[in-house]
């Protein structure tokens, strides 16, 4: 009986720690992903305004310096546009973002900024597109500062809360 209780306690503490770790990881990943999106968008601005690369190629190039899952958004949009059959460039971007969203650690406000870029890709002029991309970069930078503050405040706390909460639950159950 005691052995069974001990095993149950270990399982509860393990599950709590895993949950705390997962929440903590989301806090740690969010600023990194926001930073990667900014870098990629800066590269995209260069591709559009200086290299004048076609959008599928420009998106592919912009995503090269990023890692999973941010890379999935750029490469996914690039391959969807290159294969054709879509209605607008925005559709390709939105579809790629939707596919990558479960793996991203971003919140709804972050995703809204990134989603809004779909409409920018349908604009006729490079000047207008670059202006909107730069604005999106600035907004993402603001979100990144807030995300870094959240990370330092809550990342460790979430991990500790997971372990301690599970311990408290174990004591109550025992």
């Amino acid at each position: 009986m005691l052995l069974l209780k001990l095993a149950g306690a270990v399982l509860v503490v393990g599950a709590g720690a895993a949950l705390g770790h997962a929440v903590s990881q989301r806090y740690r990943q969010r600023p990194r992903e926001l930073q990667q999106f900014q870098r990629a968008l800066e590269l995209l601005v260069t591709e559009i305004s200086y290299a004048v690369s076609p959008l599928p190629h420009a998106l592919g190039r912009a995503g090269v310096g990023t890692t999973y899952p941010v890379r999935e958004v750029f490469s996914g949009a690039a391959s969807r546009l290159a294969s054709g059959g879509l209605v607008t460039a925005g559709d390709g971007w939105t579809a790629a973002l939707d596919a990558a969203t479960p793996a991203l650690s971003l919140n709804a406000a972050d995703l809204e900024i990134i989603r809004s870029l779909g409409a920018v890709f349908s604009m006729p002029g490079a000047r207008e597109q670059v202006r909107h991309l730069e604005l999106a970069c600035r907004r993402l930078a603001q979100h990144e500062s807030a995300a870094r503050a959240d990370e330092s405040r809550y990342a460790r706390l979430a991990l500790q809360l997971g372990v301690l909460g599970a311990l408290a639950l174990t004591i109550v159950l025992l």
Binding site: L55, L81, L86, V87, T88, A89, S122, P124, G125, Q129
Partner: protein, 330 residues
């Protein structure tokens, strides 16, 4: 049903860049429409909220959503704003910004040399169009290389076994570009024993003559031909003279005074020119500033006047310079 290569080009280069509802209507009409109309298809007109029209040699035909010919505009398929925007996105590979210069000039060139004229709301900065803000209509003019169409005419244009400097005149849509392309091909390849091969330089400002894709001509303009694609005519003629040592310079739709001066420079440099211009006859274009100075010197050996009287490509008359001078003397 028409030239298979030309229909193949429409299926390969035009249909995939049409919004799906427009594509379905056109595709269906191409396979079920009357043979004469399909074979004589010249343009497709997509106007937002107005009937889809196929311009053919037998007249303008309104199409419904299933590609059937209709007589009442109320029964015709009217492309929506989304259809027009989607078509524009597909035509530019979802990259409108890469075609900004063309959009500012209110046209796009598709692979295969098909030209798309644009209409809508323009944004003007100073005296220059900065952007086309709302595109509401697309006119897809289908390029058709009619190889051999100039062969019957060539003997009347040759001077000392080389194509003489020639001005081709006609109102829009009479086949000037097609004739110019075939003349350039003949001048480049030569046609023994009438015509010797020449080094030909084409200044193709609107990418219609050679229909270049990444600088490579998609239509047959001869083996001995260099093309400056997308280059303004006056600048291109000067560059051709300086860099490519042509014996014949070919350019389409001359209209600005600087074009006229560049042509005169080329002729004075000993190069022959083959150019076209909009106009019904010589008197018509003599009133235009671009030609005033040019025609005072009468630098052309031949003048070709075309019309649509018996369909596109009708040559009304060929006038030699000597004939013109003797007429002026009288």
């Amino acid at each position: 049903m028409g030239d298979p290569a030309w229909l193949g080009s429409i299926q390969r280069d035009v249909l995939p860049v049409l919004a799906p509802p427009v594509r379905r209507a056109v595709e269906s009409w191409l396979s079920t429409g009357s043979r004469a109309a399909v074979a004589g298809l010249e343009e497709l007109r997509l106007r937002q909220e107005r009937p889809l029209v196929a311009v053919t040699c037998v007249g303008d035909i309104m199409l419904d959503a299933s590609g059937r010919r209709v007589g009442d505009p109320g029964d015709a398929f009217c492309p929506s704003a989304t259809d027009v925007q989607v078509t524009l996105q597909l035509m530019t590979g979802y990259s409108l910004y890469t075609r900004e210069e063309e959009l500012r000039s209110l046209f796009l060139t598709l692979s295969g040399g098909h030209r798309v004229g644009l209409a809508g709301r323009t944004l003007v900065e100073g005296d220059r169009i900065r952007a086309l803000q709302h595109v509401a209509a697309l006119s897809i003019r289908l390029a058709r290389a009619v190889t051999g169409c100039a062969t019957g005419l060539i003997s009347s244009l040759v001077v000392d076994h080389i194509l003489g400097s020639t001005l081709v005149l006609s109102p829009p849509g009479a086949g000037k570009t097609t004739l110019l392309r075939d003349l350039a091909r003949l001048a480049s390849n030569g046609l023994p024993p009438i015509l010797r091969s020449s080094r030909v330089g084409i200044v193709d400002e609107r990418s219609e003559l050679a229909a270049c894709l990444n600088g490579v001509p998609q239509l047959d303009v001869g083996f001995n031909t260099d093309v400056l694609d997308g280059c303004p005519k006056a600048q291109g003629i000067a560059l051709m003279l300086r860099c490519l040592n042509p014996q014949l310079i070919v350019t389409d739709e001359v209209g600005r005074p600087e074009d006229g001066r560049a042509i005169l420079d080329a002729i004075n440099a000993g190069v022959r020119v083959l150019v076209s211009a909009h106009g019904r006859d010589l008197e018509d274009i003599a009133r235009r500033p671009a030609f005033k100075e040019l025609l005072e010197h009468v630098p052309f050996d031949r003048f070709v006047v075309m019309s649509r009287r018996r369909g596109p490509g009708t040559v009304e008359r060929v006038t030699a310079r000597t004939e013109l001078k003797s007429r002026a003397g009288r």
